[in-house]
Amino acid sequence: DVKVTQSSRYLVKRTGEKVFLECVQDMDHENMFWYRQDPGLGLRLIYFSYDVKMKEKGDIPEGYSVSREKKERFSLILESASTNQTSMYLCASSLGNEQFFGPGTRLTVL
């Protein structure tokens, strides 16, 4: 079975803090994705990566950056957290056409 894990289920940070969200997959997938989910808006793509050190902007990259130094790990970075980044963050990986999701991180920025 594909396993995608995220470093925290719940996280509370203060405005202006630098925040790291980590995602690890164990199936040697090429592609990895970061989404945020907000009520009424569904899932929106922040960034994705199709190879180590490669990244592509999604629909809402502003205020975020990513890092992929190893194939199995994809990090989402909030350089200076703001209250409007309070959300559910979901990581996914895929090999070919089918995406598999981690359990999500619910981030609250105070």
Binding site: N31, F33, G40, L45, M88, L90, N97, E98, Q99
Partner: protein
């Protein structure tokens, strides 16, 4: 622009009832997946179905790519089916676009 629309937005069923969820999309798709998001937020893969029909137990799905829609059927619903159902499509490449989901509540 790219559109993925799901209907109905909300659905309440008595346990044992059947239901059909719909996903309309605005262009030809390479990929289409159905997910169930449980109350803890985990997205669970139900079907990968860019075309054709698949069945898995009480759930089945059909995608008619030429007419740009997909249907998810839930038969003999159970309380554990409650949650939000998402359709996700990819038109080219690896970027998926999600609908806003159908929130299903199954009452005993």
């Amino acid at each position: 622009g790219i559109q993925v629309e799901q209907s109905p937005p909300d659905l309440i069923l008595q346990e044992g009832a059947n239901s059909t969820l719909r996903c309309n999309f605005s262009d030809s798709v390479n990929n289409l997946q159905w997910f169930h998001q449980n109350p803890w937020g985990q997205l669970i893969n139900l079907f990968y179905i860019p075309s054709g029909t698949k069945q898995n137990g009480r759930l089945s799905a059909t995608t008619v790519a030429t007419e740009r829609y997909s249907l998810l059927y839930i038969s003999s619903s159970q309380t554990t089916d409650s949650g939000v159902y998402f359709c996700a499509v990819a038109f080219t490449g690896n970027q998926f676009y999600f609908g806003t989901g159908t929130s299903l509540t199954v009452i005993p």
